[in-house]
């Protein structure tokens, strides 16, 4: 869980920073998207770098999902009889890890169909991601799905990053506050960075 989660988290930080290029206009954003395809050239063939990243991410998602499934099954089996006196346990971010993860998985499917394969994108102009992004965030459902998913992402990272540090033995009583701060900061920066794009499109800052 920890290692695959950190791989995805590292990718998300880069992805979010790349998205912010949308504020510098269509040419820079589309140019960046084109550069991603020529990355590593001429050593790597066209789009090979992109495919290497995609395969690594797919492996991380699969490892994360399989270990989440195994852990959940084990945890549910370990408490066969529930308490009659119900009580809220743990923080909101902790309690929503499982469903939040499922929401994120479904979002990723939609996100790929929308902006990678362009299957559900209304504009669907291959090679012009700037225009396609504008098209997505011009629809009410595009904005809703995206912003809800980014909320789930923030909560997931808030508990997930700190937990990964504990799993890998990197936490300690003295480092705990710093780690919690870092987890919250990462969650907040990712949420704000990703959500800034639909907000900018909705308010007309990016058009």
């Amino acid at each position: 869980m920890a290692v695959s989660g950190l791989v995805m988290l590292g990718y998300l930080v880069v992805h979010m920073l790349g998205n912010l290029k949308i504020f510098f206009g269509a040419d820079e954003f589309n140019g960046y998207a084109h550069w991603l395809r020529t990355l590593g050239s001429p050593f790597l063939h066209h789009e090979w770098a992109l495919w290497i990243v995609r395969v690594a991410l797919l492996a991380a998602v699969a490892a994360h999902a399989v270990s989440a499934y195994q852990l959940s099954r084990r945890d549910i089996k370990a408490r066969p009889v529930k308490y009659a006196h119900k009580r809220r346990r743990a923080s909101y971010a902790t309690r929503t890890m499982r469903w939040g993860g499922v929401i994120l998985a479904l979002f990723i499917v939609w996100h790929l169909l929308d902006l990678t394969t362009l299957t559900v994108n209304e504009r669907a102009w291959a090679g012009h991601p700037y225009e396609n992004v504008l098209s997505t965030f011009s629809t009410w459902y595009g904005n809703t799905v995206y912003i809800v998913a980014m909320g789930a992402l923030g909560l997931h990272v808030r508990h997930g990053f700190w937990s990964a540090a504990q799993t890998l033995g990197a936490g300690s009583a003295r480092r705990d506050r710093a780690l919690k701060f870092l987890a919250n900061a990462l969650a907040l920066v990712l949420f704000a960075g990703f959500v800034s794009v639909p907000v900018a499109v909705m308010t007309g800052v990016v058009s």
Binding site: L71, D75, A84, H85, R89, T94, Q166, G169, S172
Partner: protein
């Protein structure tokens, strides 16, 4: 004080159980929770009914025998053991739910008594040190740095009551196991088994059917001895270190 108790009653391990309601009267706020249950049991015996079975021993908060999930909290609303919980923590006329520890690895024996033998088997897997038998060695013969001694003592406080497992949403025994491993692994006396201890105890913990850790932190909140959550992190670190050493 007059109270309504809703208590889990179960005749035997395989019999179905249910919550049963009892009214108790004449409870002093200075009574411990267990003395209040004694009062209920005296009533039940006089009425010719089966008294409620519950675990208890020292009643001083040091043996780890008492259990009980009271209103959804392991050992009740105060951060102490059930025997050291007093009725002043409740109000007159309250309805109190009393349940056994709930975990697959802690099967109910009768009513509120559970079998915590799985903890014993985790201890048997590595909760010991290799020492020559005979007279106790001179205490000052092995120097232990103050920081390590404090670390070991903080974790040695664990009385093995099982509140961590009862409070954990996953029925995990990570805090218990980590307390034992931290206690012994940091000391020179425990160093010969440092790697095998953590690998064997964690493996036994998994075999006993405890859940996995999702770092919810409920265990550390419930622990009457204040074992803190970084204990689990330190165990993870020891486990990864042992793996790297390649003993398995």
């Amino acid at each position: 004080m007059k109270l309504t108790l809703r208590v889990w009653r179960q005749q035997s391990p395989d019999a179905p159980g249910a919550m049963a309601s009892y009214a108790v009267d004449g409870i002093s706020k200075d009574m411990s929770f267990l003395e209040m249950l004694d009062t209920l049991n005296e009533d039940l015996i006089l009425r010719g009914e089966d008294p409620v079975a519950f675990d208890h021993d020292c009643r001083e908060g040091i043996c780890g025998a008492c259990s009980l999930v009271i209103n959804g909290d392991a050992h009740g609303p105060e951060r102490t053991t059930t025997c050291q919980l007093h009725m002043r923590s409740f109000a007159d006329g309250d309805t109190i739910d009393v349940e056994p520890w709930r975990a697959a690895a802690f099967p109910v024996v009768k009513d509120l008594v559970v079998d915590r033998g799985s903890f014993d088997r985790i201890i048997q897997a590595g909760g010991y040190i290799t020492a020559p038998t005979g007279a106790a060695p001179e205490a000052h013969a092995t120097a232990v740095p103050k920081h390590d001694a404090d670390h070991a003592f903080e974790h040695a406080e664990c009385i093995g009551c099982g509140a961590c497992v009862a409070a954990c949403p996953n029925g995990s025994a990570m805090l218990f196991t980590s307390a034992k491993i931290n206690h012994l692994n940091v000391l020179p006396q425990g160093s010969p088994e440092r790697e095998t201890r953590v690998l064997d105890m964690v493996a036994t913990m998994d075999e006993e059917g405890f859940g996995g850790c999702t770092l919810a932190g409920e265990c550390a909140t419930a622990c009457p001895k204040g074992i803190a959550l970084p204990s689990i992190t330190a165990m993870n670190k020891e486990w990864l270190r042992a793996l790297r050493k390649g003993l398995r």
